[in-house]
Amino acid sequence: MPAYYLEALTVALGIVLLMLEAFVSSASKKFIGISAAAGLALILIFSFFATAPDAKLELSRFYQYDGLARFYKGFALVCTILVVLMSVDFRSILSRFTDEPGTEKGTGEYYALPVFACAGMMWMASAKDLAGAFVALELVTITFYILVSYLRRNVGSLEAGVKYLILGALSTGFLVYGIAWIYGSTGTMNLAALAERLMTPRSPLDSTVVVEAWAQLAPVAQPSLLFGIALILIALGFKIGAVPMQVWIPDVYQGAPTPTTAFLSVGSKAAGFILLIRFITPFMQPGSPVAQHVALMLAIMAGATLLFGNLAAIGQTNFKRLLAYSSIAHAGFLVLALAAWKDKTPTDLSSAETVSFYLATYLLMTLASFFILAQVRIQDGSEEIDAFNGLGKRNPTLALGLTVIMAALAGVPLTAGFLGKLFVFKLAVDAKLWWAVILGFVGAAAGFYYYFKIIRAIWWEAPKAEAKPLVLPEITRYCVVGLTVAVIVLGVWPEPVRMLLQ
């Protein structure tokens, strides 16, 4: 089965779900959510049998299918499935803020929209051409405009929606403008052709004319190319949540419905990263004349992101906002891995593999935290860290799980979170990016502080007098248990993730 069937199936699934919503009248929309998850799970199974498209097809100029593509398609699917399941248990909040409060009328699309976003993310994983990548990226972003402001009678959600819309539109502008500059200076938007043009530069006006030495082009082409690259890095910085486009994150994360926040922080970020990897691969190839410049840009981005995310997280008292800053901080580590670019070697993980590995562990930890946060929000009506006070007494098993997850986010060994950080540090030290390494370690130390604040609240603080035991609904419970066990198992035995990456 050619791989692009997967995207087609996903879009078809989304349309079917919308039809179900329109024609099957039912008081509870749980059915739509479960169908969405089941459909996506089926597509996930199909994805293991997908093959690269025929090279003769016109489509193969826009679409590639390799190990990374397969990994990130699976990633998008798994993430969407979990987000949809989280939404199912989030119904009580959803129905409170829609047109007819108290009923689930008008909440059905909330389960269908992530499926469309998923299709966009899957396409981004296969992007081979900047024009195609742009279209896929916009599919994701526009879907998110709706998802973020889905609680239409909640001011916070609407505010978040507006902020996301304005900055999203701005970043789209950067992206298109950057693509234009790159096209102007190299004469192509195809990433494979770009790689080849960088090594044997051709005249931007007539691609049949080979310019013998890059130096001849340098006065015009190299600065313009670098300008284009910088613009695109900034635009992708919006998706991945890196400085200088991180400003929207705290407010939007806090205002958006929790499952959407989780989706933004995992799915959207990962899709941004695969696109970033695809985009910079031609520029970082050995012998590329701009490799050093791009690495420097990435390193500055990484350093600033690490510093901002980690230091700003220290003072947070709202758990959702803390997770927002933590998501910026993790983006910093991930960009650092790309700045310390390393190609595939037989003995070490390459930068792309390290990022993928890190994201896989990040998915487990972050989604588990959001699952728990969503339930605390529903049952206690608060997302403050105070709401977790005395969780050790209210639900010891959940408290133990959340402790493992927080320790993993902080990067405590024998949890999956440590390995990602370890490999990033190793890459950065190998690349001798000393100042970025120092910022990374400062960031890790700060992370240790603010994640342990949660652990402190769980175990050391007394619960509020009126606090009831916290009981997780069935779906959430199974998901949290599964994710937590995976965090520990992969922390001790990470080989499965690497095998998925091959």
Partner: protein, 486 residues
Amino acid sequence: MLLLLVLIPLAAFLAILCGAPARKTAVAAGWANLALGVWAAFSFNAKIWGISLPVLAKPALHLSLAMTDGMSAIMVLLSVIVTLAALLSGKAPEGKETLYYGSSLLISAGAIGAFAATDLFFFYAFHELALIPTFLMIGILGRGDRKEAAWKITIYLGLGSIILLAGLVWLASITGTFDIPKMVDFVKDHPIDAASQKGIAALLLVGFGVLVSLFPFHSWAAPAYASAPAPTSMLHAGVLKKFGLYGLLRIAIPLVPEGMQAWLTPLLVLLLGNILWVGLVTINQKRLDLMLGNSSVMHMGYIFLAIAALAASHTATGFTNTLGQPAAVLLMFGHGISIAMLFGLADKIERSTGTLELTDLGGLAKSAPGLAFMFGMVGMASIGLPGLANFAGEVLVFLSSFQNYDPSKGLGPVQIACILAIWGVVISAIYMLRAYRNIFQGPQVKATTDSADLTLADRIPALILAIALLAVGLYPNLLLNLLSLK
């Protein structure tokens, strides 16, 4: 097979989580581990013990446990002895048995794993596995300012571990492997350049130093030990803290000897800070638990002195100091056993009199002669009375500082430090004897009139530790022979 030593406590922990009777399961696991640990330590070079399971192909990571030399064997031996004693002493608060015994088991599993790991990744990872339950125990079940003490130890040790991680990653990046024996082989052929050595050694000294409460990074220790439940302070002060010293001997000394030598003078100054400054602070303590906490910080100085003597003797052909390593290991063992016993007995004193304020106690020997005898014995051990394990260690430390001493060249920095450090013995004698007098002698006071003596159940852990102290004290070759084996 060594994996069993880690898996038994972990399995017991899981069993307790699933509802097995906490104390019985934990104690059974402790006895099983003691038997297995003693057997393993005294036959450590047999083939059956090593194990290596690949967990990641690229970069190559292995869950590999083996006793590379007698040092690992002795540290594992220390861990299993103190673990059993810790599980047997102390009393779990009502309804908290799962946490109380579960944490001790996790700490023990982590410590044993760290001492036996030959892969850098697991070496680091197991230690952290032991730290988290330590933090939780102090925060949940601690006494007094538990929240503050627990937060302080969390932040200090968290930071220390991250600084340490930086040094370890740097080493792994240079040597291109995470396998410790392979790293040692690598640097034999390709010594690390001087600048990197200096940088790595600084990170390792500070990182491990924080974990061992090297002056001036020691201020977390006394409040944490004073606040922690008895088994936690026994396990941390007795076993887990030794991880830092073990790490310096296992990683820093063989891999970055020149770097260690470059930092010799600062290290000597800091370790004198431990012995003399913290020693004086210890004399000033008014509570037994704070005094013991500070004394354990102080005694780390001697072990650092042995490490410094070893580092100072590095030449192009290797280390000329043959006493430094045995001295450090022997004293780690002696100190680990004696401090664990002291914390265990202090907990007993508190349970039977309700206080640890030295001024509120007195004449306890009359109502609790068994306790008085045990405390007296281990107090003497901690001062360094001959016949008990610490004496053998301390004497070796002082001898190692003067090994290769050439009178014609005058006193070197290590010798000067040693001469100053010997005053620490006097300091120890002052605070320990004074504490003994205040608690056990003199007229009985209200708190001590009807206090109970050690029951049989209390005696067992104390006896296990006392036997270890006596055996090694009277016949240090028991352990020294292990060190000379290959």
